[in-house]
């Protein structure tokens, strides 16, 4: 069976510090990978998605970047965090080729607080 791991679960970082959140998927190959941010009372905002190693699409220009160094590894980074980067970050995957109706499978998220 497929599993998705996301860590850390919670993170408190000062403004201006770097960020690295990691997500790995097991039990499948060549998945689509996604980073979402969820703000309280708002829907999920797609930040980045990737259809393959080294292929990253950015949906929202901002202080964050993403990388996919391996097939089942997706990393969200920032060089200098802003207060507005606080939020709940979710990694997700689905199957290639039928992304329009292939269910998304989410990790348990990282609660980031920038102080």
């Amino acid at each position: 069976s497929q599993t998705i791991h996301q860590w850390p679960a919670t993170l408190v970082q000062p403004v201006g510090s770097p960020l690295s959140l990691e997500c790995t998927v097991e039990g499948t190959s060549n998945p689509n990978l996604y980073w979402y941010r969820q703000a309280a009372g708002r829907g999920l905002q797609l930040l980045f998605y990737s259809v393959g190693i080294g292929q990253i699409s950015s949906e929202v220009p901002q202080n964050l970047s993403a990388s996919r160094p391996q097939d089942r590894q997706f990393i969200l980074s920032s060089k200098k965090l802003l207060l507005s980067d606080s939020g709940f970050y979710l990694c997700a995957w689905n199957r290639q080729g039928i992304s329009y109706n292939s269910p998304l499978h989410f990790g348990n998220g990282t609660r980031l607080t920038v102080t």
Binding site: A9, N101, P103
Partner: protein, 113 residues
């Protein structure tokens, strides 16, 4: 106007009641409709997935899509305290050569024992 509207709640009902959760949308191009359940401090998990108008049933859950009214619903029968969670609707449509998933804000549901 948001493409997908969903009342954030909270919606509080007694155990055993029938729950109705709803989303409205404005884009008639939406083709696929999903309901996700999210427990506190967890990621969302897929509950129901529908394509056409009509009803789809899975145990105590029924998803309903009315494309003519641009309205989708999730019904929960015999609600349990374990159903307390945030329920998010999501729908997808083709944008250029890709498909885009649009999310509602989520409705927080509380089932009182």
């Amino acid at each position: 106007q948001k493409e997908v509207e969903q009342d954030p709640g909270p919606l509080s009902v007694p155990e055993g009641a029938i729950v109705s959760l709803n989303c409205t949308y404005s884009n008639s191009a939406f083709q696929y409709f999903m309901w996700y359940r999210q427990y506190s401090r967890k990621g969302p998990e897929l509950l129901m997935y529908t394509y056409s108008s009509g009803n789809k049933e899975d145990g105590r859950f029924t998803a309903q899509v009315d494309k003519s009214s641009k309205y989708i619903s999730l019904f929960i029968r015999d609600s349990q305290p374990s159903d307390s969670a945030t329920y998010l609707c999501a729908m997808s449509a083709q944008r250029d050569s890709n498909y885009q998933l649009i999310w509602g804000a989520g409705t927080k549901l509380i089932i009182k024992p």
